[in-house]
Subunit: 196 residues, 2 copies
DNA sequence: GTATGCATGTAATACGTTACATGATTGT
DNA sequence: ACAATCATGTAACGTATTACATGCATAC
Protein backbone atom coordinates (compact mmCIF):
# COMPACT_ATOMS: atom_id res chain seq x y z
CA UNK A 1 0.00 0.00 0.00
CA UNK A 2 1.47 3.25 -1.14
CA UNK A 3 0.74 6.50 0.65
CA UNK A 4 0.09 9.07 -1.99
CA UNK A 5 -1.29 12.49 -1.21
CA UNK A 6 -4.96 11.60 -1.64
CA UNK A 7 -7.93 11.77 0.68
CA UNK A 8 -6.76 8.59 2.41
CA UNK A 9 -3.45 10.21 3.08
CA UNK A 10 -5.26 13.26 4.45
CA UNK A 11 -7.20 11.38 7.07
CA UNK A 12 -4.16 9.39 8.14
CA UNK A 13 -1.62 12.18 8.26
CA UNK A 14 -3.37 15.26 9.57
CA UNK A 15 -0.39 17.55 9.13
CA UNK A 16 -1.86 19.56 6.29
CA UNK A 17 -2.21 23.25 6.99
CA UNK A 18 -5.66 24.18 8.18
CA UNK A 19 -7.58 26.78 6.25
CA UNK A 20 -8.33 30.18 7.75
CA UNK A 21 -11.95 29.18 8.25
CA UNK A 22 -11.00 25.99 10.07
CA UNK A 23 -8.71 27.89 12.39
CA UNK A 24 -11.34 30.53 13.14
CA UNK A 25 -13.82 27.79 13.99
CA UNK A 26 -11.29 26.25 16.36
CA UNK A 27 -10.85 29.66 17.95
CA UNK A 28 -14.57 30.25 18.41
CA UNK A 29 -15.02 26.77 19.90
CA UNK A 30 -12.12 27.35 22.25
CA UNK A 31 -13.90 30.44 23.47
CA UNK A 32 -17.15 28.59 23.99
CA UNK A 33 -18.37 25.08 23.14
CA UNK A 34 -21.32 25.51 20.78
CA UNK A 35 -23.15 24.09 17.80
CA UNK A 36 -22.63 24.83 14.11
CA UNK A 37 -25.63 27.09 13.93
CA UNK A 38 -24.33 29.35 16.69
CA UNK A 39 -21.00 29.52 14.89
CA UNK A 40 -22.80 30.69 11.78
CA UNK A 41 -24.60 33.39 13.72
CA UNK A 42 -21.29 34.69 14.98
CA UNK A 43 -20.02 34.83 11.42
CA UNK A 44 -22.96 36.79 10.11
CA UNK A 45 -23.42 39.13 13.09
CA UNK A 46 -19.81 40.22 13.60
CA UNK A 47 -17.01 41.54 11.40
CA UNK A 48 -16.06 37.89 10.91
CA UNK A 49 -18.48 37.92 8.02
CA UNK A 50 -15.68 39.60 6.11
CA UNK A 51 -14.12 36.11 6.01
CA UNK A 52 -17.00 33.76 5.47
CA UNK A 53 -20.58 32.96 6.22
CA UNK A 54 -22.97 30.51 4.47
CA UNK A 55 -23.62 27.01 5.85
CA UNK A 56 -22.09 25.52 2.71
CA UNK A 57 -18.62 26.43 3.92
CA UNK A 58 -19.02 26.03 7.67
CA UNK A 59 -20.58 22.58 7.89
CA UNK A 60 -18.09 20.93 5.54
CA UNK A 61 -15.29 22.59 7.54
CA UNK A 62 -16.78 21.14 10.73
CA UNK A 63 -16.91 17.71 9.10
CA UNK A 64 -13.24 17.98 8.12
CA UNK A 65 -12.21 19.04 11.59
CA UNK A 66 -14.13 16.16 13.09
CA UNK A 67 -12.60 13.64 10.70
CA UNK A 68 -9.17 14.99 11.67
CA UNK A 69 -10.15 14.61 15.34
CA UNK A 70 -9.46 18.27 16.05
CA UNK A 71 -12.98 18.80 17.37
CA UNK A 72 -15.45 16.42 18.97
CA UNK A 73 -19.09 16.37 19.98
CA UNK A 74 -19.32 16.83 23.73
CA UNK A 75 -23.06 16.39 23.92
CA UNK A 76 -26.02 16.47 21.59
CA UNK A 77 -29.27 17.91 22.84
CA UNK A 78 -32.68 18.47 21.39
CA UNK A 79 -33.19 22.07 22.44
CA UNK A 80 -35.83 22.53 19.77
CA UNK A 81 -36.45 21.12 16.37
CA UNK A 82 -33.63 18.97 15.13
CA UNK A 83 -30.83 17.68 17.32
CA UNK A 84 -28.01 20.07 18.16
CA UNK A 85 -24.39 18.96 18.34
CA UNK A 86 -22.32 20.88 20.84
CA UNK A 87 -18.73 20.89 19.62
CA UNK A 88 -15.44 21.44 21.38
CA UNK A 89 -11.80 21.29 20.30
CA UNK A 90 -9.85 18.21 21.33
CA UNK A 91 -6.39 18.64 22.82
CA UNK A 92 -4.96 18.07 19.32
CA UNK A 93 -7.30 20.83 18.12
CA UNK A 94 -6.07 23.19 20.81
CA UNK A 95 -2.49 22.46 19.81
CA UNK A 96 -3.22 23.13 16.15
CA UNK A 97 -4.92 26.38 17.07
CA UNK A 98 -1.99 27.55 19.18
CA UNK A 99 0.35 26.66 16.36
CA UNK A 100 -1.68 28.85 14.01
CA UNK A 101 -1.57 31.76 16.43
CA UNK A 102 2.19 31.47 16.88
CA UNK A 103 3.16 31.19 13.23
CA UNK A 104 5.78 33.75 12.23
CA UNK A 105 4.57 36.67 10.14
CA UNK A 106 6.22 36.54 6.73
CA UNK A 107 6.39 38.87 3.78
CA UNK A 108 4.02 36.55 1.97
CA UNK A 109 1.49 36.99 4.77
CA UNK A 110 1.66 40.75 4.39
CA UNK A 111 1.27 40.63 0.61
CA UNK A 112 -1.46 38.00 0.37
CA UNK A 113 -2.95 37.37 3.80
CA UNK A 114 -2.81 40.49 5.92
CA UNK A 115 -6.37 39.94 7.04
CA UNK A 116 -5.48 36.52 8.37
CA UNK A 117 -2.61 37.98 10.37
CA UNK A 118 -5.04 40.39 12.00
CA UNK A 119 -7.39 37.52 12.68
CA UNK A 120 -4.60 35.66 14.41
CA UNK A 121 -3.88 38.71 16.51
CA UNK A 122 -7.57 39.03 17.37
CA UNK A 123 -7.68 35.47 18.70
CA UNK A 124 -4.32 35.57 20.46
CA UNK A 125 -5.63 37.29 23.59
CA UNK A 126 -5.86 34.72 26.34
CA UNK A 127 -4.62 31.77 24.29
CA UNK A 128 -0.90 32.51 23.97
CA UNK A 129 1.53 34.37 26.19
CA UNK A 130 2.01 38.09 25.87
CA UNK A 131 5.52 37.53 24.53
CA UNK A 132 4.10 35.76 21.49
CA UNK A 133 1.66 38.59 20.83
CA UNK A 134 4.48 41.12 20.99
CA UNK A 135 6.63 38.99 18.68
CA UNK A 136 3.81 38.86 16.14
CA UNK A 137 3.46 42.64 16.28
CA UNK A 138 7.20 43.10 15.84
CA UNK A 139 7.35 40.79 12.84
CA UNK A 140 4.30 42.46 11.38
CA UNK A 141 5.92 45.88 11.72
CA UNK A 142 9.11 44.70 10.08
CA UNK A 143 7.39 43.12 7.09
CA UNK A 144 5.00 46.04 6.67
CA UNK A 145 7.93 48.43 6.56
CA UNK A 146 9.68 46.26 4.00
CA UNK A 147 6.66 45.95 1.76
CA UNK A 148 5.84 49.65 1.97
CA UNK A 149 9.40 50.39 0.86
CA UNK A 150 8.94 47.96 -2.05
CA UNK A 151 5.74 49.67 -3.14
CA UNK A 152 7.28 53.14 -2.86
CA UNK A 153 10.20 52.04 -4.96
CA UNK A 154 7.81 50.67 -7.57
CA UNK A 155 5.89 53.94 -7.60
CA UNK A 156 9.07 55.93 -8.09
CA UNK A 157 10.46 53.81 -10.94
CA UNK A 158 7.18 53.09 -12.76
CA UNK A 159 5.63 56.53 -12.41
CA UNK A 160 6.02 57.40 -16.08
CA UNK A 161 4.54 54.18 -17.43
CA UNK A 162 1.53 54.22 -15.12
CA UNK A 163 -1.79 55.84 -15.80
CA UNK A 164 -2.90 58.44 -13.27
CA UNK A 165 -5.54 56.12 -11.82
CA UNK A 166 -3.06 53.25 -11.68
CA UNK A 167 -0.65 55.40 -9.77
CA UNK A 168 -3.32 56.60 -7.38
CA UNK A 169 -4.54 53.06 -6.74
CA UNK A 170 -1.08 51.90 -5.71
CA UNK A 171 -0.85 55.02 -3.58
CA UNK A 172 -4.00 53.90 -1.80
CA UNK A 173 -2.37 50.56 -1.11
CA UNK A 174 0.61 52.30 0.45
CA UNK A 175 -1.64 54.42 2.64
CA UNK A 176 -3.57 51.40 3.88
CA UNK A 177 -0.37 49.56 4.75
CA UNK A 178 0.85 52.69 6.55
CA UNK A 179 -2.36 52.77 8.56
CA UNK A 180 -1.71 49.16 9.57
CA UNK A 181 1.85 50.01 10.51
CA UNK A 182 0.82 52.93 12.70
CA UNK A 183 -1.75 50.71 14.35
CA UNK A 184 0.83 48.02 15.08
CA UNK A 185 3.22 50.54 16.62
CA UNK A 186 0.51 52.08 18.79
CA UNK A 187 -0.89 48.75 19.93
CA UNK A 188 2.50 47.40 20.86
CA UNK A 189 3.07 50.33 23.20
CA UNK A 190 -0.42 49.96 24.61
CA UNK A 191 0.11 46.30 25.44
CA UNK A 192 3.46 46.94 27.07
CA UNK A 193 1.92 49.79 29.08
CA UNK A 194 -0.90 47.57 30.32
CA UNK A 195 1.59 44.93 31.42
CA UNK A 196 3.28 47.48 33.71
CA UNK B 1 -31.71 18.73 -25.60
CA UNK B 2 -31.96 20.48 -22.27
CA UNK B 3 -29.79 23.43 -21.40
CA UNK B 4 -28.62 22.89 -17.87
CA UNK B 5 -25.96 25.01 -16.27
CA UNK B 6 -23.04 22.82 -17.31
CA UNK B 7 -19.93 23.49 -19.30
CA UNK B 8 -21.91 23.33 -22.53
CA UNK B 9 -24.21 26.00 -21.23
CA UNK B 10 -21.19 28.08 -20.29
CA UNK B 11 -19.72 28.11 -23.73
CA UNK B 12 -23.07 28.86 -25.31
CA UNK B 13 -24.29 31.55 -22.98
CA UNK B 14 -21.28 33.64 -22.06
CA UNK B 15 -23.12 35.85 -19.62
CA UNK B 16 -21.47 34.49 -16.50
CA UNK B 17 -19.60 37.05 -14.44
CA UNK B 18 -15.92 37.08 -15.22
CA UNK B 19 -13.48 36.48 -12.41
CA UNK B 20 -11.21 39.26 -11.17
CA UNK B 21 -8.26 37.60 -12.84
CA UNK B 22 -10.05 37.39 -16.18
CA UNK B 23 -10.96 41.06 -16.02
CA UNK B 24 -7.43 42.09 -15.13
CA UNK B 25 -6.13 40.11 -18.08
CA UNK B 26 -8.61 41.86 -20.35
CA UNK B 27 -7.37 45.17 -18.96
CA UNK B 28 -3.72 44.38 -19.52
CA UNK B 29 -4.43 43.20 -23.06
CA UNK B 30 -6.40 46.36 -23.76
CA UNK B 31 -3.36 48.34 -22.73
CA UNK B 32 -1.08 46.32 -24.98
CA UNK B 33 -1.51 43.19 -27.09
CA UNK B 34 0.90 40.62 -25.71
CA UNK B 35 1.48 36.96 -24.97
CA UNK B 36 0.67 35.01 -21.83
CA UNK B 37 4.25 35.02 -20.66
CA UNK B 38 4.44 38.80 -20.71
CA UNK B 39 1.20 38.94 -18.77
CA UNK B 40 2.74 36.73 -16.11
CA UNK B 41 5.77 38.99 -15.88
CA UNK B 42 3.49 41.93 -15.22
CA UNK B 43 1.81 40.01 -12.45
CA UNK B 44 5.00 39.06 -10.68
CA UNK B 45 6.87 42.35 -11.16
CA UNK B 46 4.14 44.79 -10.10
CA UNK B 47 1.74 45.13 -7.16
CA UNK B 48 -0.64 43.00 -9.23
CA UNK B 49 1.06 40.02 -7.65
CA UNK B 50 -1.15 40.77 -4.66
CA UNK B 51 -3.93 39.26 -6.78
CA UNK B 52 -2.34 36.37 -8.59
CA UNK B 53 0.69 35.02 -10.32
CA UNK B 54 1.56 31.40 -11.28
CA UNK B 55 1.00 30.08 -14.81
CA UNK B 56 -1.51 27.58 -13.44
CA UNK B 57 -4.07 30.32 -13.00
CA UNK B 58 -3.23 32.58 -15.93
CA UNK B 59 -3.16 30.07 -18.80
CA UNK B 60 -6.46 28.45 -17.87
CA UNK B 61 -7.97 31.93 -17.59
CA UNK B 62 -6.66 32.74 -21.07
CA UNK B 63 -8.18 29.51 -22.40
CA UNK B 64 -11.56 30.42 -20.87
CA UNK B 65 -11.45 33.92 -22.32
CA UNK B 66 -10.60 32.51 -25.73
CA UNK B 67 -13.39 29.94 -25.58
CA UNK B 68 -15.79 32.76 -24.68
CA UNK B 69 -14.42 34.75 -27.64
CA UNK B 70 -13.47 37.67 -25.44
CA UNK B 71 -9.86 37.53 -26.59
CA UNK B 72 -8.30 36.30 -29.80
CA UNK B 73 -4.86 35.54 -31.20
CA UNK B 74 -3.85 38.38 -33.48
CA UNK B 75 -0.61 36.79 -34.60
CA UNK B 76 1.68 34.02 -33.47
CA UNK B 77 5.39 34.48 -33.93
CA UNK B 78 8.48 32.49 -33.14
CA UNK B 79 10.46 35.24 -31.44
CA UNK B 80 12.58 32.64 -29.68
CA UNK B 81 12.03 29.14 -28.45
CA UNK B 82 8.46 28.05 -28.64
CA UNK B 83 5.77 29.88 -30.55
CA UNK B 84 4.32 32.98 -28.93
CA UNK B 85 0.67 33.84 -29.20
CA UNK B 86 -0.04 37.54 -29.17
CA UNK B 87 -3.47 38.10 -27.70
CA UNK B 88 -5.92 40.96 -27.94
CA UNK B 89 -9.44 41.53 -26.64
CA UNK B 90 -12.24 41.21 -29.19
CA UNK B 91 -14.91 43.87 -29.29
CA UNK B 92 -17.04 41.64 -27.04
CA UNK B 93 -14.07 41.48 -24.69
CA UNK B 94 -13.77 45.25 -24.65
CA UNK B 95 -17.46 45.53 -23.83
CA UNK B 96 -17.17 43.04 -20.97
CA UNK B 97 -14.18 44.94 -19.62
CA UNK B 98 -15.99 48.28 -19.72
CA UNK B 99 -18.95 46.66 -17.98
CA UNK B 100 -16.65 45.52 -15.20
CA UNK B 101 -15.19 48.99 -14.80
CA UNK B 102 -18.62 50.61 -14.66
CA UNK B 103 -20.25 48.24 -12.17
CA UNK B 104 -21.78 50.07 -9.23
CA UNK B 105 -19.89 49.84 -5.95
CA UNK B 106 -22.02 48.00 -3.39
CA UNK B 107 -21.77 47.38 0.32
CA UNK B 108 -20.87 43.78 -0.50
CA UNK B 109 -17.92 45.03 -2.57
CA UNK B 110 -16.65 47.05 0.37
CA UNK B 111 -17.02 44.17 2.81
CA UNK B 112 -15.61 41.37 0.67
CA UNK B 113 -13.92 42.82 -2.39
CA UNK B 114 -12.47 46.21 -1.64
CA UNK B 115 -9.27 45.28 -3.43
CA UNK B 116 -11.18 44.55 -6.60
CA UNK B 117 -12.85 47.97 -6.44
CA UNK B 118 -9.44 49.57 -6.28
CA UNK B 119 -8.31 47.44 -9.17
CA UNK B 120 -11.26 48.66 -11.20
CA UNK B 121 -10.34 52.22 -10.37
CA UNK B 122 -6.74 51.56 -11.35
CA UNK B 123 -7.82 50.36 -14.81
CA UNK B 124 -10.49 52.97 -15.35
CA UNK B 125 -8.08 55.66 -16.52
CA UNK B 126 -8.43 56.02 -20.26
CA UNK B 127 -11.06 53.32 -20.73
CA UNK B 128 -14.17 55.00 -19.33
CA UNK B 129 -15.27 58.61 -19.13
CA UNK B 130 -14.28 60.77 -16.20
CA UNK B 131 -17.90 60.88 -15.05
CA UNK B 132 -17.85 57.12 -14.47
CA UNK B 133 -14.65 57.37 -12.45
CA UNK B 134 -16.17 60.08 -10.28
CA UNK B 135 -19.34 58.06 -9.81
CA UNK B 136 -17.29 55.07 -8.64
CA UNK B 137 -15.46 57.26 -6.15
CA UNK B 138 -18.75 58.68 -4.85
CA UNK B 139 -20.31 55.27 -4.40
CA UNK B 140 -17.15 54.03 -2.75
CA UNK B 141 -17.20 56.93 -0.29
CA UNK B 142 -20.83 56.32 0.57
CA UNK B 143 -20.41 52.61 1.19
CA UNK B 144 -17.19 53.09 3.11
CA UNK B 145 -18.92 55.58 5.39
CA UNK B 146 -21.80 53.18 5.92
CA UNK B 147 -19.58 50.24 6.72
CA UNK B 148 -17.35 52.25 9.03
CA UNK B 149 -20.47 53.29 10.95
CA UNK B 150 -21.50 49.63 11.16
CA UNK B 151 -18.14 48.62 12.55
CA UNK B 152 -18.12 51.48 15.07
CA UNK B 153 -21.54 50.50 16.26
CA UNK B 154 -20.39 46.91 16.66
CA UNK B 155 -17.37 48.06 18.66
CA UNK B 156 -19.56 50.13 20.96
CA UNK B 157 -22.12 47.42 21.66
CA UNK B 158 -19.78 44.42 21.83
CA UNK B 159 -16.97 46.08 23.74
CA UNK B 160 -17.60 44.15 26.96
CA UNK B 161 -17.78 40.74 25.34
CA UNK B 162 -14.65 41.20 23.25
CA UNK B 163 -11.12 40.36 24.29
CA UNK B 164 -8.66 43.23 24.19
CA UNK B 165 -6.93 41.87 21.11
CA UNK B 166 -10.27 41.24 19.41
CA UNK B 167 -11.28 44.81 20.03
CA UNK B 168 -7.98 46.16 18.77
CA UNK B 169 -8.16 44.04 15.63
CA UNK B 170 -11.55 45.45 14.69
CA UNK B 171 -10.16 48.88 15.48
CA UNK B 172 -7.45 48.23 12.91
CA UNK B 173 -10.11 47.38 10.38
CA UNK B 174 -11.84 50.68 11.04
CA UNK B 175 -8.61 52.59 10.63
CA UNK B 176 -7.83 50.93 7.33
CA UNK B 177 -11.28 51.72 6.00
CA UNK B 178 -10.85 55.30 7.17
CA UNK B 179 -7.57 55.50 5.29
CA UNK B 180 -9.38 54.35 2.15
CA UNK B 181 -12.12 56.91 2.74
CA UNK B 182 -9.65 59.78 3.12
CA UNK B 183 -7.92 58.61 -0.04
CA UNK B 184 -11.18 58.56 -1.98
CA UNK B 185 -12.08 62.08 -0.85
CA UNK B 186 -8.65 63.44 -1.71
CA UNK B 187 -8.49 61.73 -5.09
CA UNK B 188 -11.94 62.93 -6.09
CA UNK B 189 -10.87 66.52 -5.54
CA UNK B 190 -7.63 65.92 -7.38
CA UNK B 191 -9.40 64.56 -10.45
CA UNK B 192 -11.89 67.42 -10.52
CA UNK B 193 -9.04 69.90 -10.16
CA UNK B 194 -7.15 68.34 -13.06
CA UNK B 195 -10.22 68.56 -15.25
CA UNK B 196 -10.33 72.33 -14.74
C1' DG C 1 -52.49 25.83 8.01
C1' DT C 2 -48.78 28.67 6.58
C1' DA C 3 -44.63 31.14 7.21
C1' DT C 4 -40.55 31.79 9.87
C1' DG C 5 -36.72 30.33 12.60
C1' DC C 6 -33.82 26.61 14.34
C1' DA C 7 -30.39 23.17 12.91
C1' DT C 8 -27.94 20.26 9.89
C1' DG C 9 -26.47 18.93 5.84
C1' DT C 10 -25.61 17.52 0.37
C1' DA C 11 -24.72 18.24 -4.73
C1' DA C 12 -22.92 20.67 -8.58
C1' DT C 13 -19.77 23.71 -10.15
C1' DA C 14 -15.80 26.44 -10.78
C1' DC C 15 -11.68 28.45 -9.58
C1' DG C 16 -6.95 28.77 -7.67
C1' DT C 17 -2.76 26.30 -6.11
C1' DT C 18 0.84 23.18 -6.63
C1' DA C 19 3.45 20.39 -9.17
C1' DC C 20 4.84 18.67 -13.31
C1' DA C 21 5.72 18.36 -18.56
C1' DT C 22 7.71 19.99 -22.83
C1' DG C 23 10.87 21.96 -25.93
C1' DA C 24 13.62 25.41 -28.08
C1' DT C 25 17.17 29.05 -27.46
C1' DT C 26 20.83 31.58 -25.24
C1' DG C 27 24.82 31.94 -22.36
C1' DT C 28 29.05 29.74 -20.15
C1' DA D 1 27.74 19.97 -21.92
C1' DC D 2 24.73 22.21 -18.81
C1' DA D 3 21.87 25.65 -16.75
C1' DA D 4 18.80 29.29 -17.20
C1' DT D 5 15.26 31.64 -19.62
C1' DC D 6 11.50 31.84 -22.82
C1' DA D 7 6.81 30.08 -23.60
C1' DT D 8 2.84 27.28 -23.08
C1' DG D 9 0.36 24.22 -21.05
C1' DT D 10 -1.94 19.85 -18.15
C1' DA D 11 -3.37 17.02 -14.00
C1' DA D 12 -4.68 16.47 -9.32
C1' DC D 13 -6.53 18.38 -5.55
C1' DG D 14 -9.10 21.10 -2.34
C1' DT D 15 -12.10 24.62 -1.08
C1' DA D 16 -15.66 28.22 -1.50
C1' DT D 17 -20.06 29.40 -3.55
C1' DT D 18 -24.67 28.62 -4.70
C1' DA D 19 -28.64 26.31 -4.46
C1' DC D 20 -31.29 22.93 -2.60
C1' DA D 21 -33.18 19.37 0.96
C1' DT D 22 -35.05 18.11 5.41
C1' DG D 23 -37.82 18.37 9.49
C1' DC D 24 -39.28 20.05 13.97
C1' DA D 25 -41.32 24.04 16.68
C1' DT D 26 -43.41 28.18 17.28
C1' DA D 27 -46.11 32.21 16.05
C1' DC D 28 -49.77 34.28 13.41
Amino acid sequence: MRFTRDSTWRTIVTMRRLTTLENVILGLLRGRAQCGYDLRLQFVATPLRHFSDSPGSIYPALARLRRAKLIAIVRSGHTSGRRTQILEPTSAGKDAFRKWLSRPVTRADVVWNLDEVLLRFAFSGGFVEKAVVLRILDELQLELEGYIAELRKYLATAKDELTLTGYLAVQQGVEKYEASLRWAQRVRKEIVRRAA
